[in-house]
Amino acid sequence: MAEPFLIGDAMTGGYGAGPDILHSCTIAVDPGQIAVIVGPNGAGKSTGMKAVFGMLNLREGSVRLDGEDITHLTPQERVIKGMGFVPQTQNIFTSMSVEENLEMGAFIRRDDIRETMEQVYDLFPILRDKRHQAAGELSGGQRQQVAVGRALMTKPKVLILDEPTAGVSPIVMDELFDRIIEVARTGIPILMVEQNARQALEIADRGYVLVQGRNAYTGSGQELLADPEVRKSFLGG
C-alpha cells in the first residue's frame, strides 16, 4: 500500500514532561478522504490530532506530509507547509469582519487571494452576505463556517478540524457535515475529531476509534458502524 498523504505514524507522547497520552497511535488520511477520530472521553482524540499538527512533542514515531518528515516542525511551520487547522474554540477573530477574517487566514500568501475568497464564498454562501459584518456577531454555525473558511484561505493541502460541530444544534450540525463533504470533494483531505461519533462515521472514509491513546479499531466509516464491538462500546448498541 502506498504511503498515505498525511500520516502520524506510531505516535507516542504527551504534553510537556507529563506522562504519555498517546501510545503508538497511527492516524492517516488521503486526498479526497475524510478521516474521523472518535472514541470515549479522555481517549486522546484531540491529543492525537494535536500531535499530527505539532502541538505536542512526540517521544516516538513521526509525522509525514506528502512523504516529507515534518515531525520536528512547529505548528506555524506546518501551516506554511500546507496544513490548515481549525481549533475547537476561539477559532475566529470576533472583532473583525468576515472578509477580514478570511484575509487574515491568507496572511502568509503574497499572491492574489480574491479567487480563493470567491471559492470560500461559493462554499459558504451565507458568508458572502455577511462579509462586512463582525464575525463575533454571527450564529454558532456561521462562526464555524468562518473558521473553516479562514483555514481554507491558505489553499491547504490538508485540513484538520477539532470538533467542528461542538456546541451547534443538530440541524446546523447536519449542514456543517454537508459542507465538510463538499470541501473533501474538492480534493482536500480532511482529518477531524468528533464527539458525534455516529454522524461523523457516516461521512467518514476512514475512522479511527481510540481508546486510552491506542488505536482500538480502524476501518472505513461503514465498517466501524457495522462492527458489533464498536457499536456496543461506543455507539450505544
Partner: protein, 336 residues
C-alpha cells in the same frame, strides 16, 4: 446680546482650551490603549515616554533656533517633531528588546508587566531629568494667536473677547490628521489588520502566520509617534516640565479606561470626556452665569465646584464612577 457674550466667555475659557486638552489626552490615551490591546499590559511608562519624545523635540527645536531656522508663523517644534519621534521609537524599541521581550518570552502575567513598566518609567524619568533638568522649559515660537481677544472684540464689537491660540489650532488639526491616519492604517492596511487580529486572538494570529515580533515592533513605533506628538502638543500649548508629564499619566489612563481599554475609538471619546469634565468642574462659572441669569439671581460666589489644584481629583472621580457602573468603558474594552 447677553447670551452671546456668555457664550463667548464659555468658548474662551472652557470649550476651546478643553478641546485642545482633550485632543492631547486622546493622543496619549491612544498610545496606552494600543499597548494594552496588543502587548496586553498597562504601560505606566507612557507619560515619561511622552516626556522623552518632547525633550528630544525641544532640544532639536533649540538647535534649529540657534541656527536661525524658523518657520514663519508655525512653531519650529513642529518641524523638530520627526526627530523626536525617531529618537523615541529607537528608545522604546531598545527598551522592548532589553526588557519587555524577556518577559514576553516567559509569558509573564500582565500584572508583572505593569510593574516592569513602572521600572521603565523610573529609568526614563531619570534620563529625562538628567538631560534637560526638572525645570519648566518654553519652546514655542512663531505666531502666538490665530486671533486674539482684542482682534475679536474689534471685529465683533462684543463686550467679551475670545482668543484662539496658534497652539490650540495646531493641536486640534494635528490630532485630527493623526487619528485619521491611525484608523486608516488599522483598518485598511495589511499590517494594521494583522495588529488588530493579534489583539483579538493571539493564538489564531500565530496560526495564521502573523509574526508577533513584527506586530509588537510596529506597535511600539506607532506608540512612540503618538506619545511624542501628544507630548509636544501639550508642551507647546502649556509648557514642558518632566513632572507634569508624569502627572498626565492619570488623566490619560482615565481617558483610556473611560473609553474602554483596547478600543482606539474609546480612547478618543475618553480623552474628551475627561478633558471637558476637568475643565468644566474646575471653571469659575460666575462670569458666564452673570450673562445667562437674570440680574436678581446673579451668583455671589465664583460658582467653582473644585479649585484647579484639585483637577486630578476629577480624573479619579470619573475612574471610580466608570469602574463601578461600566467597567468595560463606553466602547466595550477588554480585560486581561
Amino acid at each position: 446680546m447677553d447670551f452671546i457674550n456668555g457664550l463667548v466667555v464659555l468658548m474662551n475659557f472652557v470649550l476651546i482650551p478643553a478641546t485642545a486638552y482633550g485632543a492631547q489626552l486622546a493622543l496619549g490615551a491612544l498610545g496606552v490603549t494600543l499597548i494594552y490591546g496588543i502587548l496586553r499590559f498597562s504601560n505606566f511608562a507612557h507619560g515619561d515616554t511622552m516626556a522623552f519624545g518632547t525633550m528630544i523635540t525641544v532640544l532639536v527645536t533649540w538647535w534649529f533656533q540657534s541656527m536661525g531656522i524658523s518657520f514663519g508663523p508655525l512653531p519650529t517644534a513642529l518641524f523638530a517633531l520627526p526627530f523626536g519621534i525617531a529618537a523615541t521609537a529607537a528608545l522604546v524599541l531598545l527598551t522592548d528588546r532589553g526588557v519587555y521581550q524577556f518577559y514576553r518570552a516567559q509569558k509573564a502575567k500582565p500584572v508583572i508587566l505593569v510593574i516592569v513598566s513602572m521600572g521603565v518609567m523610573f529609568v526614563m524619568n531619570g534620563v529625562v531629568r538628567i538631560i534637560i533638568g526638572v525645570d519648566d522649559q518654553r519652546f514655542s515660537d512663531g505666531e502666538r494667536f490665530i486671533f486674539s481677544v482684542r482682534e475679536f472684540k474689534a471685529t465683533t464689537g462684543l463686550r467679551e473677547g475670545m482668543a484662539l491660540k496658534t497652539t490650540q489650532g495646531i493641536t486640534v488639526i494635528t490630532a485630527l490628521i493623526v487619528v485619521i491616519a491611525l484608523f486608516w492604517f488599522l483598518n485598511k492596511t495589511r499590517t494594521g489588520k494583522s495588529m488588530r487580529a493579534y489583539a483579538d486572538n493571539e493564538d489564531l494570529a500565530l496560526l495564521s502566520g502573523i509574526n508577533p515580533e513584527r506586530v509588537v515592533a510596529v506597535t511600539w513605533i506607532i506608540v512612540a509617534a503618538l506619545a511624542t506628538i501628544a507630548g509636544v502638543l501639550y508642551g507647546l500649548d502649556k509648557s514642558f516640565k518632566p513632572f507634569t508629564y508624569f502627572q498626565l499619566l492619570l488623566p490619560i489612563f482615565a481617558s483610556a479606561i473611560v473609553g474602554g481599554l483596547g478600543s482606539p475609538l474609546g480612547a478618543i471619546a475618553g480623552g474628551f470626556v475627561v478633558a471637558y469634565s476637568e475643565v468644566t468642574i474646575t471653571y469659575a462659572w460666575k462670569k458666564v452665569l452673570k450673562y445667562w441669569m437674570p440680574e436678581s439671581l446673579e451668583p455671589s460666589t465664583l460658582m467653582q465646584l473644585l479649585s484647579t489644584e484639585y483637577k486630578f481629583a476629577v480624573s479619579f472621580m470619573i475612574l471610580i464612577v466608570v469602574l463601578l457602573f461600566k467597567p468595560t468603558g463606553l466602547f466595550k474594552g477588554k480585560a486581561y
